[in-house]
Assembly symmetry: C2
Homo-oligomer: 340 residues x 2
DNA sequence: CCACCCTATGTAAACGATTACATATCGCAA
DNA sequence: TTGCGATATGTAATCGTTTACATAGGGTGG
């Protein structure tokens, strides 16, 4: 592997000059520039990134932690992250948790040990160790959340997300406005604020409409197709089956629709279904899914920008940056059946 | 940031001893070990990965290049890659191409400039520059393909994949066995061997059954939902619409089903649809999709293993490593309508 | 013509770990 | 006791860049 020394030798200059030629050509005289350029071409020299990063103390790497890349919702977020990353000269290292909780310390350690310059969390790390709090004023390592798919302990962490409470209220209220009274809520991990907030919104809307909530209507499905299908089977067989189901994400909603149809019922004639996220499959399932759209790319972009600022040492403060959501009405929702 | 020097000083030993303690504790006497451990705990020392990697000349990073993480088929492959990566101590840096061709040189450069130890290509790089050939005996940089979603020039590159020709033949033959005579084929980028092989398999089966192929039946849709929908509209409105459509991936098949139903036709009563990949949505679309299943995780694992070997300097040879596929029959296929 | 400054380049010291080689220490056999 | 080998530790060079500082050369103003 050819090093800067050999290039310098061949060009008859010092290594410093070669380095300057690469990083700041303006400092180098035209005449010298040509000689160095020639030497580089001849040797096929490429600067050793390991050495450079080591010397500069920067990895130019950002780790994105998410439950599963297969979830199409994350695609949009990643798109936004990548755009900014490319613009700012970062590479993205992806770390899947596969829905296992991971130790938060693992990520702070990645920063301390210079494996990465910053971290974006789209998944739940395990709760903090005792005594660690995020509210205090001491400088945090450059770690930021998106979508708040995390444990409540991290509530004050820098993050970018929609107002999940308001969005869930809106979705539920829409079902209520159609005439539904028995509305179920189906969610993922109960320990995440994401889920908790959406449940809060749901309960808020039900309460406002003075509608009762049957305990059997609120069920954990795991945010997956399969989990949703299990949960739906239970709901359908219960003594007072709901006429509408509000799912904490589209993946569950798609699984729910499938299972409802498999049971010989129709969507939306027998049961209305509302999803959350507006993934691209939402439009092509049968019937097309009513759902809450999140500006995923924008979330990704703003998260990455904020992280870059943190890496550069700026104070980005605590708390969430909120982006707008939107209710998308398609054909998976309708008035409840007459008999209800 | 605390360095090994400070730990050594605090423990009253040399930096060499601290280094040995970290990398090879057995070499260090029990007594010393305790002192060093104490110093590490007290200082909160974490070895600087940048320095270590630089010294060792290894990044412990593998780049995976793919068109889009949003495609659920890649999820399985990534799963397999990650499993092995974790086992072998690598981090995965993901690079999306968003269906743009990227310069192959970019990846060899990443290796030369020590940004990564190896590359896995799941997406099409642009054709080689003139004069570069992959058949020659000179040692290749550690780059490997999966799924052969690439330009034909790379045909001899080390890769892991199913036998696309045989799989496509099988799928087409299955349609023929149901009685279909007018079978369309819908594919993505025509420049990839993946598509070419599947088309070859399709043509082979048609030829064997002595069935003609209408040119309008073979159409490029871009491997996306939207592309497939456009292509279906054309097919339906043609003078001799097909009774079955074989799609080069499930994403297209799902788009096709949706568009067929939107046009007021039924699947499979009017038109049968076959996909490719068996992504997890294949089972929950309506009707559930008949498709070719690929052992995605296994592909990912074997790819990563082979790459690790290449990185370690072993000769992994040229050419493809083949894994088995399987036709999954669901309800999107049936006999053609009577009138045909 | 001198003094000064500015520009282009060279010299060499970092960065923080690893490791070849040198040295010290200890145990044990002769 | 001496000598040898094995074991544990220290010394210092090294990886390839960057960069603070030194220096040389060239131009300008007085």
């Amino acid at each position: 592997m050819v090093s800067i020394k050999e290039v310098a030798q061949l060009a008859g200059v010092s290594t410093a000059t070669v380095s300057r030629f690469i990083n700041n050509p303006d400092q180098v005289k035209q005449h010298t520039r040509e000689r160095v350029q020639k030497a580089i071409s001849e040797t096929g020299y490429a600067p050793n990134t390991l050495a450079r990063n080591f010397r500069r103390g920067k990895t130019h790497i950002v780790v994105v932690v998410l439950p599963s890349v297969g979830d199409p919702f994350f695609e949009g977020i990643m798109e936004g992250i990548w755009r900014v990353a490319r613009e700012q000269g970062y590479s993205i290292l992806v770390r899947e948790t596969l829905f296992n909780t991971v130790d938060f310390d693992e990520f702070t350690h990645m920063i301390f040990s210079k494996q990465a310059d910053g971290i974006i969390l789209l998944a739940s790390p395990s709760p903090f160790r005792e005594g660690v709090s995020i509210d205090d004023e001491r400088k945090q390592p450059p770690i930021i959340l998106s979508c708040e798919n995390v444990t409540p302990e991290l509530k004050n962490f820098p993050s970018v997300r929609i107002d999940n409470v308001a969005a869930a209220t809106e979705a539920t209220t829409y079902l209520i406005s159609l005439g539904h009274k028995r509305i179920a809520f189906m969610f993922g991990k109960s320990s995440s604020t994401l889920t908790a907030d959406r449940e809060t919104g749901y309960r808020k809307a039900m309460k406002k409409a003075k509608l009762p909530i049957d305990d059997t209507w609120v069920s954990e499905g795991g945010l997956t197709l399969e989990g949703a299908r299990r949960a739906v089977r239970k709901l359908i067989n219960s003594s007072a089956p709901p006429t509408a189901i509000f799912c904490a994400n589209d993946e569950m909603a798609i699984g729910a629709i499938h299972e409802i149809k498999a049971a010989g019922l129709s969507v939306p004639e027998d049961i209305s279904v509302v999803g959350f996220d507006d993934i691209r499959y939402a439009e092509v399932v049968d019937p097309p899914l009513t759902t809450i759209a999140q500006p995923a790319e924008e979330i990704g972009e703003r998260t990455m920008y904020r992280l870059c600022k943190a890496i550069d040492g700026s104070d980005i403060g605590l708390g969430a940056e909120t982006v707008p959501h939107k209710l998308i009405v398609r054909r998976s929702t309708a008035k409840p059946p007459q008999s209800s």
